[in-house]
């Protein structure tokens, strides 16, 4: 039988899916230990064993989850948690805006489903891939492959961390915490487009460092990002 275009599309989805899984595998070095750490800390703070995967599965944004565990009380301060979550995750608004032009051709329900899983790593790997392969459209299969790999790992290992308690001890003592900046630095390398990046990035970093040193909480993320974007606006205007 001749290959139909439908099975062609399924085959290419499968190939793209596995390309996504493969691309995301190195990130498990960071996701597994941090998932275990978050789960064990959450249970020590009064989360029940089921509430841990419920949080990590519904929220799926590690930074805000660590913050929530740090601020957790019984009963929890809902407005405080929601506010801090917004502050930490407000960067998603900018991330979604950067991804939006690439999603235009997809049906809306698919876009709203895909965006549910848009954590830093999924987003950055997807954009890096789009930039690395000019002329290619947004690949749903690639995005899904990264997402399934990272989402399942995060939910399963945060659950296991809550279930087994603090088996690993404080891994950050050894340097495992450097895995996250390493991922981000690699992603930044992929986004480098010559010298006009340099100034906005430096301003963003400088302002974020200052705000982090001066103000408690997560203000440094929106403050640094907005300062960098303002600079980008001026730099682009100057060209």
């Amino acid at each position: 039988m001749q290959t139909t275009s439908l099975t062609d599309r399924q085959n290419s989805f499968r190939a793209e899916f596995f390309r996504g899984v493969k691309t995301s595998l190195p990130l498990l070095i960071a996701f597994v230990p941090f998932g275990l750490l978050l789960g064990s800390q959450a249970v020590q703070k009064g989360f029940s064993i089921l509430e841990v995967p419920l949080l990590t599965g519904l929220n799926f944004a590690g930074g805000s989850e660590f913050a929530a565990v740090g601020l957790w009380s019984i009963p929890p301060a809902i407005m405080l948690l929601a506010g801090v979550t917004f502050l930490i995750n407000s960067r998603h608004i900018l991330m979604g805006a950067a991804l939006a032009p690439h999603l235009k051709h997809l049906p809306r329900w698919k876009i709203f489903l895909l965006l549910f899983f848009m954590c830093d790593e999924v987003w950055a790997l997807t954009l890096t891939d789009l930039h690395a392969r000019p002329g290619h459209r947004f690949s749903t299969g690639f995005y899904a492959g990264i997402t399934v790999c990272l989402y399942l790992t995060w939910v399963i290992f945060t659950f296991m961390g809550g279930y087994t308690g603090n088996l690993l001890g404080d891994l950050t003592r050894y340097g495992v915490d450097m895995a996250f900046p390493a991922v981000f630095i690699m992603l930044l390398k992929g986004m480098w487009k010559g010298a006009r990046n340099a100034l906005p990035w430096c301003v963003s970093l400088g302002v974020a460092v200052l705000v982090h040193l001066l103000l408690p909480g997560a203000w440094y993320v929106p403050a640094g990002a907005l300062a960098g974007i303002t600079t980008a606006f001026l730099v682009v205007r100057g060209i």
Partner: protein, 99 residues
């Protein structure tokens, strides 16, 4: 196993996070961007990522700053996996030596 106040807190967080995720898309959906705005948009991802890792640069611990430098140097030469291993191992060793 599930407590109502905890459940509400988790749902509130999940809702806020989801709104931030669809917010940027909703703001831009159906709009045409000028080339200049498109150029600015292209620079946004890096600005966000660099702000997220700012606390790693703000540390006063020499071992951590040297580890970060080693990670950046590794990133210029290697792919993701060796860069991560290089960063983690160098930082671990430096912390053991420098405290």
């Amino acid at each position: 196993m599930l407590h109502i106040p905890a459940l509400l807190a988790i749902l509130a967080m999940a809702l806020v996070t989801y709104l931030t995720r669809i917010g940027g898309y909703l703001l831009l959906a159906g709009r045409k961007l000028s080339p200049r705005m498109q150029a600015v948009m292209d620079l946004i991802p890096g600005c966000v990522l660099v702000a997220v890792i700012a606390p790693d640069f703000a540390t006063g611990r020499p071992a951590d700053l040297l580890g970060l430098t080693a990670t950046m140097l590794a990133a210029t030469r290697f792919s993701l996996l060796p860069t991560m291993l290089c960063g983690v191992i160098t930082t671990g060793l430096l912390r053991a030596i420098l405290g």
